[in-house]
């Protein structure tokens, strides 16, 4: 075991897998000598050389498009999009190409890859260094979406992702790159994809979160406990395909659900979770399913802490949901 923060855990996973699998290549803007603007790829260029740790020209569509070709040829590319906010120039390649390649070729080809990207607010990044676009990709058939909330999961999920057969969007909560730290095994291990973690069991309200907001939710859950509200706290880890059994079981037990995310509310992933749960657990529900989310505005700079659904707002949502009487 070693103490690592989330960034180090990502870096460790990349290094281990590159040692284990010579087909893994890392590519993106500034990922080489510099080791990435957040230093997630630090040291990889020195260890594996410029053929496997590749600084690309400034074009996200080229990064993903070339990665697709590499993948067809049998490499396992791990492209990085420097900030999730800059993923749109690659949108066509991701949505129309990567996600559909297996399907549209009748299964003749596949293009597994792990697209890593730091996402989310809370680092004073304003409109373009704060976005959480996960729901756009969840809506896209053919790509999976994974978000770790702690170093242990980050390493184990990333290792799983790099061994998976499908394209995966691996979104890293940059706000807690350094703040989230903990014990992480030094060698190889995996955390299963498509399994949520029930981090706290409880009887009254199910609270669902992921990434950086998981920690806000956790804080709110602790405070709720002080008010006598016993929450079940779920960290999704894989957003899609979501671990529906865990969600449904919990919602059936508590009958009350709060979903938290920092993306804008409208058509955010919260809406899908709400819909899935009410479809499955209707008769068990004792309160409206509650969403506590970012607002439907671009992500603001100065007021970012008001924009983000932080613990106090989540607590409010929990209390409202717990107290709801039809």
């Amino acid at each position: 075991m070693a103490k690592m923060n989330l960034l180090q855990a990502v870096n460790d996973a990349l290094r281990l897998e590159m040692r284990r699998n010579p087909d893994v290549v890392v590519l993106g803007e500034d990922v080489g000598k510099f080791g990435g603007v957040f230093r997630a790829t630090q040291g990889l260029f020195d260890e594996f050389g410029g053929d496997r740790v590749i600084d690309t020209p400034l074009a996200e569509g080229g990064v993903i498009g070339a990665a697709l070709g590499m993948s067809l040829y049998g490499l396992k590319p791990v492209p990085e999009i420097q900030f999730a906010d800059f993923i749109y120039p690659a949108m066509d390649q991701i949505v129309n190409e990567v996600a559909k390649y297996r399907y549209r070729s009748g299964g003749q080809y596949a293009c597994p890859m792990v697209i890593r990207t730091p996402y989310g607010g809370g680092i004073r990044g304003g409109h373009y260094h704060s976005q959480s676009p996960e729901s756009l990709f969840i809506h896209t058939a053919g790509i999976k979406v994974v978000v770790p909330s702690n170093p242990y999961d980050a390493k184990g999920l990333l290792l799983s992702a790099m061994r998976a057969e499908d394209p995966i969007l691996f979104m890293e909560p940059k706000r807690i790159y350094r703040a989230a730290s903990g014990e992480v095994p030094e060698g190889d291990y995996t955390v299963p994809l498509e399994k949520a973690a029930v981090v706290r069991e409880g009887q009254d309200v199910t609270v669902i979160a992921w990434g950086a907001m998981f920690h806000e939710a956790q804080e709110a859950v602790t405070q709720a406990a002080e008010q006598g509200i016993d929450c079940e706290l779920i960290d999704l880890r894989t957003l899609w395909p979501v671990d529906i059994d865990t969600l449904a079981a919990s919602a059936q037990k508590t009958g009350r659900v709060v979903v938290v995310h920092e993306a804008a509310r409208t058509c955010g992933f919260g809406a899908e979770i709400v819909s899935l749960i009410q479809e499955r657990c209707f008769v068990h529900l004792e309160a409206p399913l509650k969403r506590v989310t970012g607002y439907d505005t671009p992500f603001p700079y100065t007021l970012e802490n008001d924009y983000l659904p932080r613990a106090p707002r989540i607590l409010e949502g929990i209390v409202e949901t717990a107290r709801f009487e039809p």
Binding site: V25, D51, R52, I54, T56, P57, A59, G61, G62, I64, G65, A66, A67, L68, G69, M70, S71, L72, Y73, G74, L75, P77, P89, D92, Q93, N96, E97, K100, Y101, R102, Y103, R104, S105, G106, G107, Q108, Y109, A110, A141, G142, K144, A164, E165, D166, E194, P241, I244, D245
Partner: protein, 376 residues
């Protein structure tokens, strides 16, 4: 101070057949059927005859499919009439281990690389034996055994894939080359720029093969770019750009060979601009009379690549008019038989719709599949 100051033709005018005779355009086949010995790629006679037959097949297939579409038997068709030399000449240069990324007019290349005609036709009908399982429109065939990439409607998205493949080959110490086809209109896309730039920077063995057929549906080349030529765009990426008479099979082979050799030997990518002309509508959905005059088309029909190769074969004395008529009949028959064999195959099974989204079906697709099946 100006990087560009040499006199040249006005890019705002359409290309004329005469323009193909410009000194910077590679030509081999002369009007009299002889080949310019300076550039003749010296293709073996049996290959020449095979290529000629494939051009005829390609042409006959295109004509037949358009008819089937008109008869409502096929949903859509997009072919390469008049562009067969560009497609087949370039594909001919590529080795078995090389990769091809078609746009959507290069069915001849797919057939050349081993896709059985019947399987191709299954794709036309989107039936159960369609290699892409009836999922895409006709003319979006995929044939992995021939290293033919998956065809996508969004234009030029295959260009960075061809870069990635050639790049990966180099990283794996192979000399495999990847060739991507695209049209003149596609040079305006994001992906043209990105793929060319990546290929230039990483010196990968990709051949960018542009079928400059001078139209993008209704938009003529002169409204697509103000550059002097398409080949000149290569300079922006530090790679050579070559122009070739795209209706001249031998010239196309010669130009592609040079590019192929560069690619194989690690000298990097090449842009090939094959000048040709889209003598028909864009696809079965199009009616070109709405936007262009027939008399613009006529002179280009004179340069028909099949006629020109036939002239050469006759000149060489390795082919006769009688053989020609016979083989054309054979081909018609071949297509008719293949069509008859597959036209009435059943559609894909309903449950197949839920396969291949992922390697394994997750719970939600399993659920949707069950629902769909229960409804039957």
């Amino acid at each position: 101070m100006l990087a560009s100051d040499k006199a040249s033709r006005d890019p705002r005018l359409p290309l004329k057949p005469e323009d193909v005779q410009a000194p910077d355009v590679l030509r081999v086949l002369r009007p009299d059927g002889t080949a310019d010995p300076r550039h003749d790629p010296r293709v073996e006679q049996k290959d020449l005859l095979a290529l000629y037959r494939l051009m005829l097949l390609n042409r006959a297939l295109d004509e037949r499919m358009v008819t089937l579409q008109r008869q409502g038997r096929v949903g859509f068709y997009i072919g390469s009439i008049g562009e067969e030399a560009a497609v087949l000449g370039s594909a001919f240069v590529m080795r078995r281990n090389d990769w091809l990324f078609p746009a959507y007019r290069e069915h001849g290349a797919t057939l050349m690389r081993g896709m059985p005609l019947q399987r191709f036709l299954c794709n036309m009908f989107g039936n159960r034996e369609d290699p892409v399982r009836g999922r895409q429109m006709p003319c979006h065939e995929t044939w992995a055994p021939g290293n033919i990439g998956s065809i996508s409607s969004p234009l030029a998205t295959q260009l960075p894939h061809a870069v990635g493949v050639a790049w990966a080959a180099r990283l794996k110490k192979k000399d495999d080359v990847a060739l991507a086809y695209f049209g003149d209109g596609s040079t305006s896309t994001n992906e043209f720029h990105t793929a060319m730039n990546f290929a230039g920077v990483f010196k990968v063995g990709t051949i960018f093969f542009c079928r400059n057929n001078q139209w993008a549906i209704s938009v003529p080349l002169s409204k697509q770019t103000a550059s002097e030529s398409l080949a000149i765009k290569a300079q922006a990426y530090g790679m050579p750009g070559v122009r070739v008479d795209g209706n001249d099979l031998l010239a196309v082979i010669a130009a592609t060979r040079a590019a192929h050799q560069r690619a194989r030997e690690g000298q990097g990518p090449t842009l090939v601009e094959a000048i040709t002309y889209r003598v028909r509508g864009h696809s079965t959905s199009d009616d070109p009379r709405a936007y262009r005059k027939d008399d613009e088309v006529k002179p280009w029909e004179e340069l028909d690549p099949i006629k020109r190769l036939l002239g050469h074969l006759l000149h060489l004395g390795i082919w006769t008019e009688q053989e020609d008529a016979a083989v054309r009949k054979d081909i018609e028959e071949e297509i008719r038989e293949a069509t008859a064999a597959v036209e009435n195959l059943p559609p894909p099974e309903l449950e197949s719709m839920f396969d291949d989204v992922f390697a394994k079906r997750p719970w939600h697709l399993e659920e949707e599949r069950q629902q769909a099946l229960s409804r039957r």
